[in-house]
Symmetry: C2
Subunit: 202 residues, 2 copies
DNA sequence: TGTAGTCATTGACTTTAGGTCAGCGAAAGT
DNA sequence: ACTTTCGCTGACCTAAAGTCAATGACTACA
C-alpha cells in the first residue's frame, strides 16, 4: 500500500470517526455534510469520494463492530446453545449502545431506506443476522442439543424479530430503558422458555 | 359543522387518501409534496395547512386503523389471554400489511425521526402499544389467569419487541415473507411457550 | 339583506442543503 | 525529467421543502 492509498484510507477513517462524534452529539438531521468535512479538515467534495450519499456514512460506522461479533461466535463453537445466543444478544446490544442512540436511530432509518433495501445492499443486514442465528440453531440440531423436529426457521425468525425490535423500541423510547439490562433479563427469563420444548438434556 | 369545516375535512381526507395511493405505488422518497397536491386537486400550500412537514402525513394515514384495534380489544374482555394476544398481533399486522410496505417503511422511519420521538409526539406510539399489552397482562394477573408473580413488564416488553421487530424485519426484507403467516405461526408455536410457566389452569 | 370579518386556498417566492464537476497539484509510474 | 494518475478542492447547480401576502367564498351579526 503506497503513500497515496494510506492517505486516502486515513481520510476515510477521519470522516467516519468525525461523523460518529457529531452523530452522537447532535443526531443525523441536525448536522450537514459540511459540518462533518469541516471538522475532519477536508473539503465538502471529498466526502463524496468515499460515500455516495450523506446517509451512507452511517452504515459504514457500524460495519466494523458488527463484523467482530460474527468472528467471535465462530470461536465459541463449544458453548451451549443458550449461552451462545445470550452472548450474541449481549454483544449485539453492546454495539448498538456504544454507537449512541442518535447513530443507532439513523442506522435503523437507513436500513429501512428503499435505496438500501434491494438485494446485496445494507438493508439486507437483517438477513445475514437471521442466517447466523439459523445456522447456530441448525448446528444445535445436528449436535443433538435440539430435537430433530425443531422449527429452526421459525425460532430464528422469532429471535431476530426480538433483537431488532429491542433496538427499534430503544430508539423510539429515546433511551428510556437500558438495552443491556433488558437483554440480560430477556435472555435469563425467556430464552430457555422459547426453546423448552425442543431442547434435549444431552 | 358548517360548510367551510366540511370542505376542510374533505380536503384533508382527500390529501391523506391520495398520499396513501402514491405511497403504496412509489414510496415516500419518490414522490414530492406537489405530486400529492396535484393529484388531490389542490395547491401545494394547502398541504401545509394540514401537515407541518411532508413526513407528518404518513403518521396520519395510520392513525385511524390502529385506533380501531384498541377499541376492538375493549369489547373482548371475556376472551382468554392467549386468544386476546393472538387477535391483537393479527390485527396489528393486518393494519401494517394493508398500508403497504412502502407506507409501513416510511411510517417506521417517521416514528424513529428525532423530531417525533420527544414526549407527546408520535414517536411514543410504541409506548401506548406497550401499555396496552401491559394492561392486558396485568388484567390476566388480576383475574387469576396468570400467576401473581408474573413479570408483567418484562413480558409486555418481550411482546412489543417481537411485534415491532416483525414489522421492522418485514420492511427490511422488502416483503420477502408474509407477515400474517409468520404472525400466526408465532402465536401458535410461541405465545403459549412464553407464558407457560406463569399461566394457571383456571 | 348588507357588511364586516374569518379562514381555507393559492402559487410565486425563498431558502437550504445535498450533490456535481472541471481543474489543481502531489505522488506514482516509466 | 516527463507523463499519467487520482485524491482533493470549493464554487456552482438544482430540486424540493417550506413560507406568506393576497384572494374571495363563506359565516355571523345587525
Amino acid at each position: 500500500m503506497n503513500k497515496r492509498q494510506l492517505c486516502a484510507q486515513e481520510t476515510k477513517r477521519k470522516l467516519i470517526s468525525t461523523a460518529l462524534e457529531l452523530l452522537k452529539e447532535k443526531g443525523f438531521d441536525a448536522i450537514n455534510v459540511e459540518d462533518i468535512t469541516k471538522k475532519a479538515g477536508v473539503a465538502k467534495g471529498t466526502f463524496y469520494t468515499y460515500f455516495k450519499r450523506k446517509e451512507d456514512i452511517v452504515l459504514d460506522i457500524s460495519r466494523v463492530p458488527f463484523s467482530e461479533i460474527a468472528q467471535e461466535l465462530q470461536k465459541m463453537s463449544d458453548l451451549k446453545l443458550i449461552d451462545k445466543l445470550t452472548h450474541y444478544f449481549h454483544r449485539f446490544m453492546e454495539c448498538v449502545e456504544s454507537c449512541g442512540i442518535n447513530t443507532c436511530r439513523q442506522w435503523t432509518r437507513d436500513v429501512l431506506d428503499p435505496n438500501n433495501v434491494p438485494e446485496n445492499k445494507d438493508g439486507q443486514k437483517w438477513k445475514y443476522d437471521y442466517e447466523m442465528l439459523r445456522d447456530i440453531l441448525a448446528n444445535a440440531v445436528n449436535t443433538g442439543e435440539l430435537k430433530k423436529d425443531t422449527p429452526v426457521e421459525l425460532l430464528a425468525h422469532v429471535l431476530i424479530c426480538e433483537l431488532y425490535g429491542m433496538m427499534t423500541c430503544w430508539c423510539m423510547s429515546d433511551g428510556k430503558f437500558e438495552p443491556l439490562d433488558w437483554t440480560q433479563k430477556f435472555c435469563e427469563v425467556q430464552l430457555s422458555q422459547i426453546f423448552s420444548q425442543y431442547i434435549t438434556n444431552k
